[in-house]
């Protein structure tokens, strides 16, 4: 009756989340209000680096509707400590304190110096404008390489250096390999600064109940559980049990909502001080300054190879821009790529080194892919450079260097144990999907004709590590928390199911995906399953959502909790049917007696018995309810082949993506429609990273790209449709066989695009292309190759 006949894992179940989103009934943080609430507005520094000489909030207090206003010093006594970083990657890491408001010195444009509370949003804005803050400008540090030179101006004078840390990793005898290899290719790439730009700006509502001493923070976050522990224990100094954090519907994150923010800290403190709820919504122009930026690396990569192009060693040196302070996981972001500068390729020696550097810019942290897009960019560009050096085709050079194909674990030069992979399989499929031979023929024809519009084909055969993460590994990398996650499943008396999960979505469709897993495990229809997340008062303690972990860690916890439901239900069913547990057969929600299939109990029947508890077997507790916490033994390793064909106008430098084929292997697929949506969204974000998006500062440290249009978030008319296919090689890390799909697109696509641009112009002698490959950059590269003035 309630039993589902067919498996739903692997089918395109329509998203349960969508009806309220499509109709406008969904509630995001900015849609919430509380009686008597005040609006909060921060006063932000217009300077990138300056001493604060005075902050006078008294004019703000004269503005009608303004209730209170504070400078940084007024609130200095409120903080138990600075906003912490959770990832002190080395013992000697330099980690200067960042407080919710600056007191003496501002170090990036957009750092808060004062805060105003008012009865309306308009009054709060007027009040913030009335605050008089005076500054004495200091030298601005922007260029990472200059910042590391002796005698450079300093972001933090008391540190005596702009270097925060240097982290290294070495496998094998790197020097010997490089000394003896007949071919060494050395490349330098710049990964430009990105602005994550989720469509929903960060927003929050903070409430305080004085009689109980209880705080409630509703906030647009990816990490309600982490926000709770960090804010309570480190920033506010209150019992964690007195702070409830809720993430309602969250309008996109891409890493930008993995943070413990000044605004969250201020709103809670001010809710307590005023006794009134405090609401804050970031407007777009402050959101691009105050929400973290990302990427921003200078990369040097060397490959040591045999004469035929077989790679023997990898050597990478990075400089990574931390911005003005270390944020929650900022210093660790490059480490998430540290093991992947060898891509899915073999070799015997590997060295990685990264220096994190302070500049007077918005602090950086995670952005979709976090570390892995940077690594993939470097190796996929460098392997093309190697191919050119040894005279090989880009397909050929990749095939000859792929790791051994395997259904089981294989070690990589970077020191990882890759769960499974068939790299030629995705490449073969991608070549067919993109129409490779046809494109090459067209490319030849255009070259022969000398057309102004030339075609180029670019490859990216990537691998990533995700499913963050085995807690032991995180510990060895000095990350301050674990990587496990949790689920609790409750089968209600009528056979409906509520699943409480520790991961916290912002568009990924967790409720649908987890319902599909549970439906197969318990034989309950998807529509009878509710998934609860994003509320620390309801959900089990979890580690939230980032790093493509929700399915490969959180989903496995869901599956394991369901296994425990079945285990308990089996005892009750056996008792009621008066047989031993071994005599029962279980298929999707139904226990039947072996040899007498009509004698049976379904999960809903058992749930009712467990609830009445009238006749339970000895030692079995009432209620059909079970929990599981899953800590993965290894990462999961999605991989694939992306091929991009571009058309480049050699007269104007304009680049258009003609075709794009993405063939990914993300292991077992729960919902193909959701997976394809993740791939398409990620690829377009990566194409935008390669062609359009760049955060630009002027020489004073003023952010020039301060809106969605001049930062060039692409519109539908700017981007292509892509061709998507899959291979399926189940992960050996977890019993679901899943690998994660949230970040594949942004990890894979930028080098495919840039390699294609270089390929389109290679006959003109172009070998290097900076990103984003704007018409001006492309045009200049062509002129330079021609020997003209550029």
């Amino acid at each position: 009756m309630a039993q589902t006949a067919e498996r739903v894992v692997g089918t395109e179940v329509r998203r349960k989340e969508d009806p309220e989103l499509i109709t406008g009934q969904a509630r995001y943080s900015d849609d919430l209000a509380a009686p008597g609430m005040l609006w909060m507005k921060l006063v932000l520094s217009p300077f990138a680096h300056a001493r604060i000489t005075s902050v006078d909030v008294s004019p703000a207090l004269q503005v009608p509707g303004v209730v209170a206003a504070f400078g940084g010093r007024d609130l200095a006594g409120e903080w138990a400590g600075p906003l912490p970083t959770a990832w002190p990657v080395t013992d000697d890491l330099k980690n200067p304190p960042m407080y919710p408001l600056a007191t003496d010195e501002v170090r990036f444009q957009g750092e808060g110096v004062a805060v105003v509370l008012a009865e309306s949003r308009a009054a709060a804005e007027d009040g913030a404008e009335a605050v008089v803050a005076e500054y004495d400008p200091l030298p601005v540090v922007l260029d990472m390489e200059e910042a590391l030179k002796d005698g450079a101006d300093l972001v933090h004078a008391d540190l005596g250096t702009n270097a925060s840390y240097t982290w290294t990793l070495t496998n094998g005898d790197v020097d010997a390999v490089f000394a003896t290899a007949p071919v060494v290719v050395k490349e330098r790439y710049v990964v430009q600064r990105q602005i994550p730009a989720a469509m929903e700006p960060r927003a929050l509502l903070a409430e305080y109940a004085p009689a109980m001493g209880e705080y409630t923070l509703t906030t647009s976050t990816q990490i309600p559980h982490i926000v709770r522990v960090v804010l309570a224990a480190f920033v506010l100094g209150i019992p964690e049990s007195k702070l409830r954090v809720r993430a309602p519907n969250v309008g996109g994150g891409f890493g930008s909502k993995i943070r413990v923010s000044p605004e969250e800290s201020l709103a809670l403190v001010l809710a307590r001080r005023t006794g009134r709820p405090v609401k804050w919504t970031g407007d777009r122009s402050s959101d691009v300054l105050t929400t973290h930026h990302a990427r921003d690396q200078i990369q040097e990569i060397e490959l040591a190879a045999d004469e035929d192009g077989r790679i023997r060693g990898y050597r990478t040196r990075l400089i990574a821009n931390m911005g003005a302070y270390l944020l929650l996981v900022g210093p660790g972001v490059p480490l998430l790529g540290a093991f992947l500068f060898c891509g899915p390729y073999g070799g015997e020696a590997y060295h990685f080194e990264c220096t994190g550097v302070f500049t007077n810019t918005t602090p950086t942290d995670a952005y979709r892919g976090a570390g892995r897009p940077e690594a993939t960019y470097a190796i996929e560009r460098a392997i093309d450079a190697l191919a050119r050096r040894v005279g090989r085709d880009p397909v050929e050079i990749r095939r000859m260097n792929f790791l051994p194909e395997s259904d089981g674990p294989i070690p990589s030069p970077g020191g990882l144990t890759v769960d499974s992979g068939h790299y030629n399989g995705t490449l073969d499929k991608a070549l067919e999907l993109v129409g490779y031979e046809e494109l090459r023929a067209e490319q030849r024809a255009r070259r022969e004709r000398g057309d102004a519009k030339q075609i180029g084909i670019g490859f990216s055969t990537y691998i990533e590590m995700c499913g963050l993460a085995p807690s032991r590994v995180l510990g060895s990398l000095k990350y301050a928390a674990g990587g496990w996650d949790a689920a609790r499943i409750r089968v209600l008396p009528t056979g409906k199911v509520t699943a409480f999960v520790g991961v916290s979505p912002h568009g990924q469709g967790h409720a649908t995906t987890f319902s599909q897993i549970l439906s197969d495990d318990l034989g309950i229809p998807v529509d009878d399953i509710e998934v609860v997340h994003g509320d620390t008062a309801l959900a089990p303690l979890g580690m939230d959502t980032y790093g493509s972990r929700s399915l490969s860690v959180g989903g496995v916890a869901v599956h394991r909790a369901a296994d425990r439901i079945v285990e308990k239900a089996r005892k009750i069913a056996a008792h009621e049917l008066e047989v031993s547990e071994d005599d029962l057969e279980y298929v999707r929600g139904r226990f039947s007696v072996k040899g007498a299939p009509d004698r049976a109990r379904t999960i809903p029947e058992v749930a009712f018995s467990a609830w009445t508890a009238h006749n339970l077997p000895e030692g079995v507790e009432p209620e059909l309810d079970a929990s599981a916490v899953y800590d993965p033994e290894n990462f999961v390793y999605p991989y694939g082949a992306h091929i991009c064909a571009v058309e480049v106008d050699t007269e104007t430098g304009q680049v258009d993506v003609l075709r794009y084929a993405a063939v990914d292997d993300v292991g077992t697929i729960i919902n193909p429609q959701i997976v394809d949506g993740q791939v398409a969204g990620g690829v377009i974000q990566g194409i935008a990273e390669a062609l359009f998006e760049e955060a630009v500062y002027d020489e004073n440290g003023d952010l020039l790209t301060s809106s969605l249009t001049n930062y060039e978030v692409p519109a539908a008319s700017d981007v292509p449709s892509i061709r998507i296919d899959k291979t399926v090689t189940p992960s050996t890390t977890n019993e679901l066989g899943v690998k994660g799909v949230g970040e594949t697109g942004t990890i894979a696509s930028p080098p495919a695009v840039i390699n294609a641009v270089v390929d389109a112009l290679s006959h003109l002698g172009v070998t290097e292309m900076a990103r984003p490959a704007t018409p001006e950059r492309v045009w200049r590269a062509i002129q330079q190759a021609k020997g003209g003035a550029a």
Binding site: I22, T23, D30, M199, S285, Q673, A715, I722
Partner: protein, 156 residues
């Protein structure tokens, strides 16, 4: 100041600050929260609504400009729990991820199909170019609009 506007077929009144936007009136005074605020600079289309039958960025229109006029929002599309055909197509095509741009996108898509019942992919992309989405890469949104068109008998 008092503004009287016919919103989703019903005359409504709001007492707004003279500088208030139509978006602010819809959200803060009339409780119509489906229209979203993502940039307040007319760049993203999340606040798309109809004013006298024409789609506008409601963040760029003063509430006062809506005096005596007809406003239609995303809340007007579904009939109880029955989705509008364009909404149903968004659901079936998997065109929604975080959902924040979706109400504005559905308004723009519905408006397009009311004007052009069988748009090409290019026409869809052009018509939606004022509505930014960061999650989907637009592919399934284009699919959804084409699906809605074909179900209405417009497309093949």
């Amino acid at each position: 100041m008092l503004v009287r506007t016919r919103v989703n077929g019903e005359w409504r009144e709001a007492d707004v600050w003279p500088g208030a936007s139509l978006l602010s009136m819809l959200r803060d005074d009339l409780g119509l929260l489906g229209t979203k605020n993502a940039c307040e600079q007319g760049e993203c289309g999340s606040c798309s609504a109809w004013l006298d039958g024409e789609v506008v960025c409601s963040c760029l229109v003063l509430a006062a400009q809506a005096e005596g006029r007809e406003v239609r929002t995303v809340e007007d599309l579904a009939d109880g729990d029955r989705l509008h055909p364009v909404q149903q197509a968004f659901l079936d095509a998997g065109a929604v991820q975080c959902g924040f741009c979706t109400p504005g996108m559905v308004v723009a898509a519905t408006d397009l199909l009311e004007r052009d019942p069988d748009p090409s992919d290019e026409a869809v992309r052009e018509a939606l170019s004022g509505n930014l989405c960061r999650c989907t890469g637009y592919q399934k949104i284009v699919d959804a609009v084409r699906l809605a068109a074909s179900r209405a008998g417009g497309g093949a």
